[in-house]
């Protein structure tokens, strides 16, 4: 039943979009759009793949939104990302900020790996890239964050 999926997964989709976008309003909009699309195709979607399908759609839509936002920010810096550091404990706030500043693909890989707890193969499917690219993106992100971690200590 779509309604069961909606209740079970709606918040998770908002959270995923939020981790990719860093803005709650946008995250809710993305999740809502994905749920609309999914509902219209529900007859063609296998229940066991619905979450994977929705996750891919959230990533794609978040990516589109980030592109649009990048264009807007280039000319209107007042739209700069809202400060999020106060939303999490201080010792972790800087790390979240660093994750947000990662290049888009690295950030997607980090979120899918550490928050969605997906393996390389599944991440590759969601992002529509090769497993090798997932591995290299994860490695680069890890190295970048590790360097920052050492700098903090």
């Amino acid at each position: 039943m779509f309604t069961d999926f909606f209740h079970d997964s709606g918040t998770q989709l908002v959270r995923l979009a939020y981790l990719l976008l860093g803005e709650r309003g946008d995250a809710e909009d993305v999740a809502q759009d994905v749920l609309e699309q999914l509902y219209r195709r529900w007859a063609d979607v296998r229940p066991d793949t619905a979450m994977s399908y929705a996750r891919t759609a959230v990533v794609n839509r978040s990516r589109s939104l980030l592109r649009r936002r990048a264009v807007a920010r280039r000319f209107a810096p007042r739209l700069a990302r809202p400060e999020q550091a106060d939303l999490v404990p201080v010792e972790d706030g800087w790390l979240w900020n660093l994750v947000q500043d990662l290049p888009r693909r690295q950030r997607e890989v980090v979120v899918l790996r550490y928050w969605c707890d997906l393996g390389e193969a599944e991440i590759a499917r969601v992002l529509n890239i090769s497993a090798g690219t997932v591995k290299s993106s994860a490695h680069r992100a890890h190295a970048r964050l590790e360097a920052a971690l050492k700098g903090e200590q």
Partner: protein
């Protein structure tokens, strides 16, 4: 798992948990269809592609005429600036369509407001310091304001909403300001909180939903005097304007106000979920019943046709073509209604929210969640579409419904 892995998993979990399920506002499309979007139960009705627009000539439903003139009304589309500055105030500045979800603050209301920006890189750094609107006469700064939202451009100037210290992502503590020629500015009205905002095509009237702590109220404001000429409990989701008439829709009903803007407004006896200004009047749709209405400049219904219609996107730049979608057996058909002909042409490819490239040319993007949907460039007059992927030409249906 090393130290970094552990901390990453921890911080992402904590950040994710900031989204409290109790506060997430998602609408279940299975139980609460969005106005303007098709819903599953709707996929039943029609039996053939011969979807016919039946003109019910002279059908009026008790809305009297006040004899107003037939001033052409601009289509209710989002303001789109041009780099070369088609508008005298915008030789430097352009606007970009950017979704601002003001419904975060006013449930049920939603508008799309363009964000002011400049194409002059020298001016860009200034935007970081304080909200700045760039016009052909130079930058207009709003020191102390949290943000400036470009609402609409009209012949009498640029309408902006200047939000104060409470700022946020919606219109709190807002001044509606008209920036006129030479960057003169005039505050039309102050509101503690505003939701949906609509400005008449001639720039003389402004409608908004006033929220705040109390019940939402629709206010109609005379721009020249800044006076609230009328108010009504409730909120509106869309507005359409024609001559001296404002038609405000709340999703379930519509109220028409006419100059001199007195009285309680006249409720239409039929539901209208969406409406748009078109030359000579308005077009309204009710998604629930699938009915399409044409209204004249006095908001009098002159045509009604119920054939399972849904609005399929924005009207064409000149307001003469209305994208529609409708059920055809188990599939959904997409097409366009020519208001002059009262006829419909269906597209050979599906595509919601077409982008208008010209008065009769449109870019369709396949309705899909995939990253690389098919696109097609279609000519309404010829009824043909050219697929971008291989340049193949597809023929749509002939005009139907005369």
């Amino acid at each position: 798992m090393d130290e970094l892995d552990r901390r990453l998993a921890n911080v992402l979990t904590k950040v994710g948990e900031r989204i409290d399920p109790a506060t997430v506002r998602l609408r279940n499309p299975a139980t609460e269809p969005e106005p303007g979007r098709r819903s599953r139960p709707w996929l039943v009705a029609m039996t053939s592609a011969a979807a016919v627009v039946v003109v019910v000539a002279g059908l009026t439903l008790g809305i009297r005429s006040n004899g107003g003139g037939g001033q052409p009304a601009a289509p209710a589309v989002t303001t789109q600036g041009t780099v070369d500055g088609a508008h005298p105030l915008w030789t430097l500045g352009v606007s970009e369509t950017y979704s601002q979800t003001f419904d975060k603050l006013v449930p049920g209301g939603r508008i799309t407001a363009p964000v002011p920006r400049t194409v002059d890189p020298e001016l860009a750094p200034e935007l970081a310091k304080q909200p700045t609107l760039v016009t052909g006469a130079g930058p207009v700064r709003f020191p102390g304001a949290a943000a400036v939202h470009l609402l609409e451009r009209r012949d009498n100037g640029v309408f902006v909403a200047v939000t104060g210290a409470k700022g946020g992502d919606g219109l709190f503590d807002v001044d509606f300001v008209l920036v006129g020629a030479g960057n003169s500015r005039r505050t039309i009205l102050h509101a503690a909180q505003a939701g949906s905002v609509a400005i008449s095509p001639n720039g003389t009237m402004l409608a908004f939903t006033s929220g705040g702590a109390g019940e939402p109220t629709v206010k109609l404001v005379d721009v020249s005097s800044g006076r609230v000429v009328h108010q009504l409990a409730g909120r509106f989701t869309q507005a359409a304007w024609a001559s001296d008439t404002a038609l405000l829709l709340s999703g379930k009903s519509a109220v028409a106000w006419r100059a001199p803007w007195t009285g309680g407004g006249e409720r239409t006896p039929v539901p209208m979920g969406q409406a748009m200004s078109v030359p000579g009047g308005m077009v309204a749709l009710d998604d629930t019943s699938g009915c399409l209405f044409k209204l004249d400049g006095n908001a009098t219904i002159t045509m009604a046709d119920c054939n399972g219609w849904k609005l399929g996107g924005q009207v064409s730049p000149d307001g003469r073509l209305v994208p529609l979608e409708w059920a055809n057996g188990s599939t959904t058909q997409h097409g366009v209604l020519d208001l002059d002909r009262n006829q419909v042409r269906s597209w050979p490819v599906p595509g919601l929210n077409p982008s208008w490239l010209g008065p009769t040319e449109v870019l369709l993007t396949e309705d899909t969640v995939q990253d690389a949907p098919r696109t097609a460039r279609c000519d309404v007059t010829a009824g043909t579409c050219v697929l971008a992927e291989d340049d193949s030409v597809l023929n749509g249906a002939d005009w139907i419904g005369r």
